[in-house]
C-alpha cells in the first residue's frame, strides 16, 4: 500500500513537471541562442539594412534601395578588385592544395623524420597573419630585404625587386599565402589519408599496380570528399585575406594586389561610404556562400554515387 502511494506521488510530481521538462532544453539553450542573436544575427540584419542606405558626412542621409548593389557593377575599382581576388584565390588555393597533398602523401608514407616534419610544416599556420605580412615585407624589400641580401652575398651585387611591379607583387602575395596556408591543407589531407581503408591499396599492390596508378585509381577518388571540403574551407578563408595585403602592399602597385577585402574596408572606413562598402562585402559573402553550397552539393552527390 505504502509502495503504491509512493509510486503515485512520484508519477504526480512528474506530470506536474512535464511542462518544465519540455521547456528545459530551450531554457538551457537560451543563453547560447541569445549570444548568437546578439553577435551574429543582429549585426547581419543591421548590415543588410545599412547596405540600402546612402551615407554622407558620417551619417545615413537616405534610403537608396538596391542602388548600392547596382552601382557595384559599374564601379571599375570593384570589378578590378573582384578579378584580382578571384585570380588570387584560384592560384593560391590550387598551389596550396598541390603542395599540401604532396606533403601529406610524403608524411603518410612514413618516410624518416616524418613526425618531426609534421611539426615543422604547421609552424607557418600558427604565426599571426599581420606578423607574416611584416616578415615578408622585410624579405621582399628591395633595399635591405633578405632576398636582396642573399643575392648580394651569392652574386656579389644586384637587388631583387618584388614589390615594384604589379605582376611580381601579386606573385609575391600568392607566395606568402601559400607559405602560410599550405600547412592547413596538409593537416586536413593527412588526416584524410590516414583514415582511408588499407585493403584496396593492398589489393592493388598484389595486382601489381605502381604508386602512380594506386594514387590515381584509389587515393585520389577516395580522398576527393575530404579534398573538396579542404578546398572549400580554404577558398572561403582566402576570400577574406586582409592583414597580409594591408601590411605588405596596401593593394599596390596600382591595383595589382587590391583584394575585395581591402577595397571594401577602404570604402567603408576610409572613404566613409558605409552603405556602399557593406553592399560590396555582402555581395562577396553571397558569392562565397553560393560557392560553398555548390561544393557541399557536389560532395553529397559524389558520396551518394
Amino acid at each position: 500500500m505504502a509502495a503504491s502511494a509512493a509510486a503515485y506521488s512520484t508519477r504526480r510530481s512528474r506530470v506536474q513537471g512535464a511542462g518544465l521538462e519540455r521547456a528545459l532544453p530551450y531554457l538551457l539553450l537560451a543563453p547560447a541562442l541569445l549570444l548568437i542573436l546578439a553577435v551574429v544575427v543582429y549585426p547581419l540584419i543591421y548590415g543588410v539594412q545599412q547596405s540600402f542606405l546612402n551615407f554622407r558626412f558620417g551619417h545615413a542621409v537616405g534610403n537608396v534601395g538596391l542602388d548600392n548593389y547596382r552601382q557595384l557593377w559599374s564601379d571599375p575599382a570593384f570589378t578590378q578588385a573582384l578579378w584580382v581576388t578571384l585570380k588570387f584565390v584560384t592560384l593560391a588555393v590550387a598551389l596550396e592544395t598541390i603542395f599540401g597533398l604532396g606533403l601529406a602523401l610524403l608524411v603518410a608514407s612514413e618516410v624518416p623524420f616524418a613526425k618531426g616534419a609534421r611539426l615543422i610544416f604547421i609552424v607557418p599556420m600558427i604565426v599571426t597573419p599581420i606578423v607574416v605580412g611584416i616578415v615578408f615585407r622585410l624579405i621582399y624589400a628591395s633595399d635591405v630585404g633578405l632576398l636582396t641580401t642573399l643575392r648580394t652575398d651569392i652574386f656579389g651585387s644586384g637587388q631583387v625587386f618584388i614589390l615594384d611591379k604589379g605582376w611580381s607583387a601579386f606573385l609575391g602575395l600568392v607566395a606568402l599565402d601559400v607559405w602560410e596556408w599550405t600547412p592547413l591543407m596538409f593537416l586536413i589531407l593527412l588526416a584524410g589519408i590516414q583514415s582511408l581503408p588499407v585493403e584496396p591499396f593492398e589489393a592493388a599492390r598484389v595486382d601489381g599496380a605502381g604508386s602512380w596508378r594506386v594514387f590515381l585509381d584509389h587515393t585520389l577518388p577516395m580522398l576527393s570528399p575530404i579534398l573538396a571540403v579542404a578546398i572549400a574551407l580554404r577558398t572561403i578563408d582566402a576570400f577574406t585575406t586582409f592583414d597580409q595585403v594591408f601590411v605588405l602592399t596596401k593593394g599596390g602597385p596600382g591595383t595589382s594586389t587590391q583584394l575585395i577585402s581591402i577595397y571594401g574596408y577602404n570604402t567603408a572606413f576610409k572613404f566613409d561610404e558605409f552603405g556602399y562598402g557593406t553592399a560590396m562585402l555582402l555581395t562577396v559573402a553571397l558569392m562565397v556562400l553560393a560557392f560553398a553550397a555548390i561544393t557541399v552539393r557536389l560532395i553529397r552527390r559524389q558520396a551518394t554515387a
Binding site: T10, R11, S13, R14, Q16, G17, G19, L20, E21, L24, R56, F57, G58, H59, P76, A77, A141, S142, D143, V144, S157, Q159, F161, L163, D164, K165, G166, K250, G251, G252, P253, G254, T255, N266, F269, K270, F271, D272
Partner: protein, 459 residues
C-alpha cells in the same frame, strides 16, 4: 530493457546521475541560488560602484590624447607632455596608432560617441571630414579663441567650412567655425647634401643637373621620394607638381591635374625624378626614404619635418653635419611646398572635456609654444618662431619661415579628400611604375569627376 517509468527514482544510468526535475524543485533551487548569490551580487555591485567612483576621481586628473605615430610628434611626447603635467597637475594619457588606423579609429570614436579620446591630434586634411560629421566640438563654444599670434596659413586649416577657397555646395552659406587648433607647424622643405650641392638648388633644373653629376649608383642617388600608392606618393608628388605648374582643382572642383601643364609636371616626377632615385622607389614609404637620406644613399629630398629634424642626431643619422635645408626648388609654378600640419580638436564624446579644454588652451600659450620650438619641433605661433634660442637650436625653423614666404599650400578642403587621394595616388603609383604618365591621370580624373558629381559637387 528498462522503460522510463521503471527507472529507479535516483536513476543512476551509464554513470550519469539523472533525477526527475519537478517545477517545485526547480523553483526552490532557483530561489535558493538567488538568495545565496544576492550578497555576492550586492558586494560586486558595491565594488563596481567604488571602482566607478574611483575611475571618476582619476578621470578628473587626466586627459586622453590620441594621435598617429610620426617623428614630428616626438618632441611633444618627450618634452611637452611632462611640462604640461608639471604645470597643471593633469595627467596625459597619450595613445598612438599608425596613420590610417588612427584616422579610422578616431572618426568611429566620434561617430559612435565611444568616448575613447578627449583630444584628437590629426593631419590637417582630416578636418573637413571630421568637422562636417561632426566628430569635433566647436572650440569657440568651449571658450577657445584664435589670437593673432597664430601663423595664419596654419590657423585657416582649423575652420570648417574653409574661410578661403572652394566650398562644398552643402556648406556654401555656412559660417566658418573653429573646430581645431594648429598643433605642430609641419610642412615640406628641401633637405640636401652640402658636399654634393654646395648651396640649396634654386630650381628643379639645377637640382636635376647637379644630382645627375654627383650621384654614384648604387652607392648614392640624386633624389629620393615615396612611391607607395595613396597618400605617400601623393605627398611626394604634390610639391613637384605644383612647382612645375600643375593644379589639382579649379574653384568649382573641376579636376585639372590631367591638363597639359599637369601632365608635363607629373611626367617630370614619374620620369625625370625617378631616373635620379634608387631603383625600387615605387615601393618606398616614409621609412625607406628617411633611411635613404639619413643613411647617405640619397643626395636630396623634399620631406616633412618629422624626418628632417633627425638630420643632426648621430643616433639616427649617418650624415650629421652634411645635411642642409632649403626651400622647395622653383619651377614654372613657383616654389610650393605642401602644408601638412598636425592639428588638434576636442572629441564630441570627450570624457574629460574640461581637462581637454585646459590642455588646448595651455598648449598654445607662449610658454608652451616656445618650449615646443626649443625642443626641436615646429611651433604654430609667430612669437615662438621668432624666439632666438629656438632658432639657434632648430635650424629648420628659418627654412620653414622662408618656405611659407616662398609658397606653401594645404591640400584641398573637402571631406572626400581620402577618396580623391586614393584614386590619384593609385594612378600616380601606376605611372611611376611604368615610368611615364600614360593615360593614368586621365583615368583618375574621370573617376574623381564621376565621384564628385555623384556627391553633388556639380552636375
Amino acid at each position: 530493457m528498462t522503460s522510463r517509468d521503471e527507472r529507479p527514482p535516483t536513476g543512476e544510468t551509464d554513470g550519469l546521475v539523472q533525477r526527475p526535475l519537478t517545477r517545485k524543485k526547480f523553483v526552490a533551487t532557483a530561489v535558493g541560488a538567488a538568495l545565496a548569490t544576492t550578497p555576492l551580487v550586492q558586494k560586486t555591485a558595491r565594488a563596481a560602484g567604488y571602482r566607478t567612483a574611483a575611475t571618476a576621481r582619476a578621470a578628473k586628473g587626466k586627459v586622453v590624447i590620441g594621435a598617429f605615430v610620426d617623428g614630428g610628434l616626438v618632441p611633444f611626447k618627450d618634452k611637452i607632455i611632462p611640462l604640461f603635467e608639471q604645470d597643471t597637475g593633469i595627467k596625459i594619457e597619450f595613445l598612438q596608432d599608425d596613420y590610417s588606423t588612427f584616422f579610422e579609429k578616431a572618426f568611429q570614436d566620434g561617430l559612435t560617441k565611444a568616448g575613447q579620446f578627449d583630444v584628437y591630434i590629426m593631419d590637417d586634411p582630416w578636418i573637413p571630414q571630421y568637422a562636417s560629421a561632426p566628430v569635433l566640438q566647436n572650440l569657440s563654444k568651449l571658450g577657445i579663441q584664435a589670437d593673432p599670434d597664430f601663423m595664419t596659413p596654419f590657423l585657416e586649416l582649423g575652420y570648417w567650412p574653409p574661410r578661403k577657397g572652394p566650398r562644398l555646395p552643402q556648406f556654401r552659406s555656412a559660417t566658418p567655425q573653429l573646430y581645431a587648433l594648429p598643433f605642430v607647424g609641419d610642412m615640406q622643405s628641401l633637405t640636401y647634401r652640402k658636399d654634393a650641392f654646395g648651396a640649396a638648388p634654386k630650381t628643379w633644373n639645377s637640382l636635376v643637373s647637379t644630382a645627375k653629376a654627383k650621384m654614384h649608383p648604387p652607392q648614392s642617388y640624386g633624389y629620393v621620394f615615396r612611391g607607395v600608392k595613396g597618400n605617400p606618393i601623393a605627398a611626394s608628388w604634390f610639391p613637384v607638381f605644383r612647382s612645375q605648374g600643375g593644379k589639382i582643382f579649379d574653384n568649382n572642383w573641376k579636376v585639372l591635374w590631367n591638363n597639359a601643364a599637369g601632365k608635363r609636371a607629373t611626367e617630370f616626377f614619374v620620369h625625370t625624378l625617378k631616373s635620379l632615385a634608387p631603383p625600387g622607389v615605387v615601393e618606398y614609404d616614409s621609412d625607406q626614404e628617411g633611411a635613404a637620406i639619413l643613411g647617405g644613399k640619397a643626395l636630396s629630398i623634399v620631406q616633412y619635418s618629422g624626418n628632417a629634424i633627425k638630420s643632426d642626431d648621430p643616433k639616427q643619422s649617418k650624415e650629421v653635419g652634411k645635411l642642409a635645408f632649403g626651400t622647395v626648388p622653383r619651377g614654372p609654378g613657383g616654389s610650393i611646398a605642401q602644408i601638412g600640419i598636425f592639428i588638434s580638436g576636442i572629441s564630441v564624446s570627450a570624457p574629460n572635456q574640461s581637462n581637454a579644454v585646459a590642455f588646448q588652451k595651455w598648449f598654445v600659450t607662449k610658454k608652451a609654444q616656445i618650449a615646443l620650438a626649443r625642443a626641436g619641433s615646429l611651433p604654430v605661433k609667430r612669437s615662438a618662431f621668432l624666439d632666438p634660442v629656438a632658432s639657434k637650436h632648430n635650424r629648420l625653423q628659418k627654412t620653414i619661415l622662408a618656405q611659407l614666404i616662398a609658397g606653401a599650400e594645404a591640400r584641398p578642403r573637402t571631406p572626400d579628400w581620402s577618396k580623391v587621394e586614393d584614386i590619384l595616388g593609385t594612378a600616380l603609383n601606376e605611372a611611376l611604375s611604368a615610368g611615364t604618365v600614360g593615360n593614368n591621370l586621365d583615368s583618375a580624373a574621370s573617376q574623381v569627376t564621376s565621384y564628385l558629381k555623384k556627391n553633388g559637387y556639380y552636375k
